[in-house]
Subunit: 409 residues, 2 copies
C-alpha cells in the first residue's frame, strides 16, 4: 500500500495514485457523480466518485485510493478521481452537522457533543490557534532566558485570596486546588530569575457568566532584577505580539509602543469619579475607544491601580504608596492581562500581612533569604482566544469547559 498523502498535499502529486485517510466530511450525491469530501488533520480533499458507488455516511473513517486530477473548482485546485474506498470505522449520524460552513447548534449542544463538534473546521481552528499562541508565548520567553517550571496544583493553604477555592480530601486532610502559581513562580525567581508556566488554575467561581470558568489555562511569567513593572510590561508586550501573530485569528492594531496611562488619568479619560477605587466595565470600554482614536491601538496599558484593590504581594508605587506598580492590559476595552511588580523584602511581606503569616512559611522563606526586585503577569489562554476571535463566551474557546453546571464531557 502506498504512503498516506494528506489532503493539503495532493496538489504535489498531479496524475499520481494516492491514498487518502480521514473522515467523510460530506457527501454530495448528484445524478452522475458523488462528491465525497474527506477531512484529515491538514484540511479537506474532494474525491469524485462515479454514481452508483456506495459512499459511507458522514464521520465514517475511510481510506480512499485514487488519482490526483487538476480541477480549478476543487479546494486547492486538485481533486482525487476515485479508485477504491475502504471503511476503517463506521459512524452513526453525527449529533451536529459538521459539513455546514458554520455550526448551527447552540452552545449547550456544542459543548454536550464536544467529541464531535470540535471536529468542525471552524472549531478546530480556534484550538489550533491556541496551541500556536502558547508555543509563541514559550518561544518568546525561551529567547529571553526564561525557564519553564511545573508547580503544585494541590496546595495546603487557601491563603492567596481565600474565596472561591475548591476544597479537596487529601488523605483525610483538607487541601485546596491552586488558584494560580503565584507563590511558586515568585519562589522560583530565586532559583532561575526568569520562569514561566502554562498550566491549569482553578476557581470555584459561583458566577454563571460568559467570562468565568471553574478552571482555565494560565500562561504565567515572572522575572527578577527588574527596575519596576515597566520591565514586566516590556516582556508582556513581546509575548502578546508574538501570540497574536502566531494565532492568526485576525488583525490587531498594536503600535510599536503600546500606550500607557496611569490609573488616575484613566479615570479622568473615562469620565469616572476621581475617587473610584477601580475601573468599571464601562470605563474600560471608554478607554478602549480612546486608545483606538488617539493612538490607533487595540491595546492599552493602565498602570498604578490603587493598592487597596490589589493583593498583598503587590509592590507600591515608590512615589506615592496609595498607588501600586501594577497594571492591566486592556484589549479593545476589556481586561486581557493583569500583572505588576511584587514586593521583594521580607519585612514588607510581614507588614503587608499584618503579621499573619500562617501557612505562608514556605513562600516567605524565599524572601528571608534574598529576593531581587521582580514581577510578572498571567494571561488567561481561553480569554485571550475569545477576545482575539470575537467569541462572545469563553466556553467557545475552551475544549471541555468546567463551570457551575458543567462537569462533562
Amino acid at each position: 500500500m502506498s504512503q498516506r498523502v494528506l489532503s493539503a498535499e495532493i496538489a504535489e502529486h498531479p496524475g499520481e495514485p494516492v491514498r487518502l485517510a480521514g473522515w467523510v466530511h460530506r457527501r454530495r450525491v448528484l445524478a452522475r457523480v458523488t462528491f465525497l469530501i474527506v477531512r484529515d488533520r491538514a484540511g479537506l480533499a474532494q474525491v469524485v466518485v462515479p454514481a452508483g458507488v456506495p459512499v459511507p455516511p458522514e464521520e465514517s473513517v475511510v481510506e480512499v485510493t485514487g488519482t490526483v486530477v487538476a480541477n480549478a473548482a476543487a479546494p486547492g485546485g486538485h481533486e482525487v478521481a476515485y479508485g477504491a474506498i475502504e471503511v476503517i470505522s463506521p459512524a452513526e449520524a453525527p449529533p451536529v452537522e459538521l459539513f455546514r460552513p458554520a455550526l448551527e447548534a447552540g452552545l449547550p449542544a456544542l459543548l454536550d457533543h464536544a467529541a464531535v463538534s470540535l471536529r468542525h473546521p471552524a472549531r478546530r481552528a480556534v484550538f489550533a490557534a491556541g496551541a500556536a499562541a502558547v508555543a509563541a508565548f514559550r518561544g518568546t520567553l525561551d529567547g529571553l532566558g526564561f525557564t519553564e517550571i511545573f508547580t503544585p496544583k494541590i496546595v495546603g493553604s487557601a491563603t492567596e485570596s481565600g474565596a472561591n477555592v475548591f476544597t479537596l480530601d487529601y488523605f483525610g486532610r483538607k487541601a485546596y486546588l491552586a488558584q494560580s502559581p503565584q507563590f511558586y513562580k515568585q519562589t522560583m525567581v530565586g532559583v532561575f530569575e526568569r520562569v514561566y508556566e502554562a498550566g491549569p488554575v482553578f476557581r470555584a467561581e459561583p458566577h454563571d457568566t460568559s467570562r468565568h470558568l471553574a478552571a482555565h489555562t494560565s500562561l504565567d511569567a515572572e522575572l527578577g532584577f527588574i527596575r519596576d513593572h515597566r520591565d514586566v510590561m516590556a516582556v508582556l508586550t513581546r509575548c502578546v505580539r508574538a501570540m497574536v501573530e502566531a494565532a492568526g485569528l485576525g488583525a490587531v492594531r498594536m503600535p510599536d509602543e503600546i500606550p500607557v496611562v496611569h490609573f488616575t488619568e484613566a479615570l479622568r479619560l473615562a469620565g469616572a469619579d476621581p475617587d473610584e477605587p477601580d475601573l468599571a466595565p464601562e470605563h474600560e470600554r471608554a478607554l478602549g475607544v480612546w486608545a483606538a482614536r488617539e493612538h490607533g491601538s487595540d491595546l492599552l496599558y493602565v498602570e498604578g491601580y490603587p493598592m487597596s484593590k490589589r493583593p498583598f504581594y503587590t509592590h507600591p508605587q515608590p512615589s506615592d504608596p496609595r498607588w501600586s506598580n501594577s497594571f492591566d492590559l486592556l484589549f479593545r476595552g476589556m481586561e486581557l492581562v493583569t500583572g505588576g511588580q511584587r514586593r521583594h523584602v521580607y519585612a514588607d511581606y510581614v507588614a503587608a500581612l499584618g503579621g499573619d503569616t500562617a501557612g505562608l512559611a514556605g513562600y516567605l522563606e524565599a524572601f528571608r533569604h534574598g529576593m531581587p526586585p521582580h514581577g510578572g503577569f498571567a494571561i488567561g489562554l481561553e480569554r485571550f482566544l475569545a477576545r482575539l476571535s470575537g467569541a462572545a463566551n469563553v466556553r467557545e474557546t475552551t475544549l471541555f469547559p468546567r463551570d457551575l453546571h458543567r462537569l462533562a464531557p
Copy 2:
C-alpha cells in the same frame, strides 16, 4: 548605570567595567583579599574584593561593579576586580549550605526548604534539564504534525481506574481530579489526529515509596491512523532520543533500533514462570541486563502484555487476543514509559466495559462517530529525570513534591 552583564558573559568584556547582579553564593575571606562568588541565572562569577571591605552574607542579593580581569584560576578564566557593591536585598543565614559542591542536607530538609535548596547549582541543573526535555518532547511532536491540547483536570466520574482518585467538592457535587488525560487525548485524536499535552495528573497514592507521588507531570501523546502499537513506539523513540539529548544528564546507550521483545519472550529471558501475568521488578532488572549485554542498549521495549493486566481501552493483539498491542519502555531495567494501541470501534468498547458505560457517554461519543486506529503513551517527567540523573527518589526531581505526608511548601 551600565547594562547588567551575566556571569557567563564577563569573558566577553576583558578590561571593561561591568555590572553584575545576583546572589552572594560564597565569601572566602583571606588575609589580603576576599573572594566573593556571585550567582546569577547563568552561573557563577568571582569578584576579588580588597581586604577590609565588608561583604554581605550568603544569599544577599547584590549589585557589584568592577573591571573584568583575565585569571586562569577563576571560573571561566576571568574574574571581576571589585569597584563597588550594593546590597539590593538582605538575607538571613540559609537553612542549607548552598556553596558546597554537594548539598549535605537530607531529603526532608531539602524539601522543607525548597525555596532555598533549589538555588543550589546541582538542584537547579536537574530542573533546567527537565525544562529542556519537555521542550524537546514538544519540539519532536510539533515536527510530526501534533497539536498541543489542554484538557480538564476536574472530571465528573472516576471511572478510569476507580482506585486512588482524589475527591473534590464541586459546587456541592462530588468530582474527581483527573488521573490522566487518557479519555480526552483519545477524543482529540478525532479532531486533530495527533495531539499531546504536558500537564499535571493526580493519584491518591497511599504508598509511601521512593517512586510514587500524589501528583506528577505527565507528557502525553496520542496519534491516529496507525497500523498498530509499533507506530506509537516509533514516535516515542524519537521523543525519548530528543529528550535525553536535550536534558544532557549523562550518556544513554540507545541504538538506532531499540530492541523489542514480546511479553512471552520477556518472561523466558528473565527466567520467570511462563504463566506470570506481569513482569516483577526483578524480571525487569534481568531484562535490563540482557538488553545491555545483547544489544548494547539501556532501553528495551516489551510488547504484548496480557490483556488481563491492561485497562479496558487497550487494543488486543490481533493474532492472539490473550495478549495486547501495548508496551512498556524499560530504562536500565525499570519501567520508564507505558503505552499502546487503543480500541477504536464503539461496539468493542461496549463489550469491553460489559455494557456498563455509565459516566462515559462524552468519551464514547467519539467512537460512535468514527475513530481511526490510534494509540499513545505517557512519560512521567519526574520519573524520567530521576532515571536519567540516577536520583534514588522521585522527590529529588520534583520541584515541590506532594505525597501522603507532604502538602507544603
